[in-house]
Amino acid sequence: MRLSAFWEAFRIAAASLRANKLRTGLTLIGVVVGVAAVIAVVTIIKGLDQTVASTFSSQGSTVFTVSKLPQIILSREDFIKANKRRDVTEGDAEAVARLCTACWRTGVAARSASVVKYGDQKSEDVPVRGVTPSMFDIEDIDIDAGRPWTASEDQAAHDVCVVGVDLLENIFGGQAPERAVGREVRIGGRPFEIVGVAERLGTIFGFSRDNFVLIPYPTYRKMYGTKASLFIHIQVETAAELEEAQDQVRAIMRTRRGKTIRDEEEGFALETQDVFLNLYGKATSNIYLVTIGVAAISLVVGGIVVMNIMLVSVTERTKEIGIRKAIGARQKYVLTQFLIEAVMLTAIGGLLGVISGFLLAYIISFLAGFPLLLSLWSAVLGVSVSSIVGIISGLWPAWKAARLDPIEALRAE
């Protein structure tokens, strides 16, 4: 097809869309919604991916835990089974620390939750963890103001604590971390001195990671007893040793649980952060699938609407087509003219979809507090897919127009 005729087709298509602005707009809704859904979800999940990656890599792939219950339980049966296990005890932790040669650092943590008070200010259900000093290294906890507790404070089970920054907001009215150091708070009714404030960790999936209190493990034991099962945190020096260390720890724990090789149930949970990553991966791929479904449906509906409107457009312009054919427009030209119009229509829809998808993602990421990662390929994909919808749904109307008999068409009004 010659370029001059192609440009004429382009011009006519643009003029036709401009002449019917409202109709054009309404026609586009399906395509816009479909593309916007994909763009928003892809953009949001990309932002989440970034958050997840940075969150989990801070702990690194050199750490794993031993606990009674797995960190994620997906069924009631699993819970009942796991709940029957023996608690993880100090004895287990000592055995691991003593016998595991591939392990680099070993730490113990016990978890509970208590009300934290300062004067008449209080914060309910604050997660309180009793940890051994090595946990500061294993979890890479940085101190923003003050200091961690000392070895002697640990051994003497002093009532000292390190707090997350959320507590400053909740009970000190948002004072600077330095001002909180040295103050006395009541944790579960017991007075504690704040010796340090941990550096801000931020949020993940909209949940704060800074709402916590750390106290020395001996203090924790004094306060809450030794009834609850512990968490053993193990770190290897390099990721290469992770598997060896896990094998050793598994063997030590199985022996202590009296499990033979034939026992399938180990009697404890040995996990890395991969559990979270796997769960996250599964969740996001489900979200992708649902989104693709929604998008496909709206694009199909959008395509049908576009086809309908193109048929109307062909009918309305039968006379014009007759004139063009009468003075020498070939079938190919008329076909192209209407195809261009359909593609222009849906490409505009795709573009609007990309823009509104990005906007939606921007609003959500702003509210939920994760980074916004705009990707060019998703924009290109959005516009291309909608253009293809345009070609498919424009083909039949354009074909009808191209096949019109000039005399019949000229008779139309």
């Binding site: 001059s4 005729a5 003075i327 020498g328 070939r330 079938q331 000229l410």
Partner: protein, 254 residues
Amino acid sequence: MSNVILAAPPQTAALDHGDLLAHDAVPASLISMRDIWKTYQMGAEEVHALRGVEFDVHKGEYLAIIGPSGSGKSTLMNLIGCLDTPTRGRYWINGKLVSEMNDDELARIRNQEVGFVFQTFNLLARASALHNVELPLIYAGVGSAERHEKARQSLTAVDLADRMMHRPNELSGGQRQRVAIARALVNHPSILLADEPTGALDSATSHEIMNLFERLHAEGNTIIVVTHEPDIAARAHRIISIRDGHIERDERTK
């Protein structure tokens, strides 16, 4: 794609169509119709709009086709202009057998060989006079600079140099018809066809348009005009009278 379909040699034509057409060779005339029929199916009934029309038109002729309403003038004109195809018969333009051509080949003939002027103008309402006149050139693949120049010349030739950017609804009937004539002439067709070109115009304007046709004829154009007005027919040099789908009279008047 070749748009030039040469007629079959005379022998083959004779074999195909029997004795009646045995004398058919590739005609030397500009237009040549042999035993042209056009039949419309109206439900169970067949309407024969044309019944075996035969005639030739030579280069430079000025021909009028007259006849009562419904006699088949427009049907014939649409066939000559390659807007329609005959049910039966053979038709050549410039030695090309157009009665056997497909849709796109006919489009090419309409674009290159024929300039058609309609009673109701048939201009694109949303386009300027200039753009309307450029259209045939666009489909002929002429580049924009040359296209503008030719369209301008064509509009100037019909005295519309000062109305080029006007849209049809900003022009009088006579001016619209002159735009249509400029459009018909812009590709320098072999023949100019006009189906009741003054049918929608008042008599003064009609006169003006017919003067224009006379001038175009004097400049060497071949013209066929359909009309039912005797004084318009009288300007032509040859008159074909049609009745009930066949040629009743074919006479040279000048």
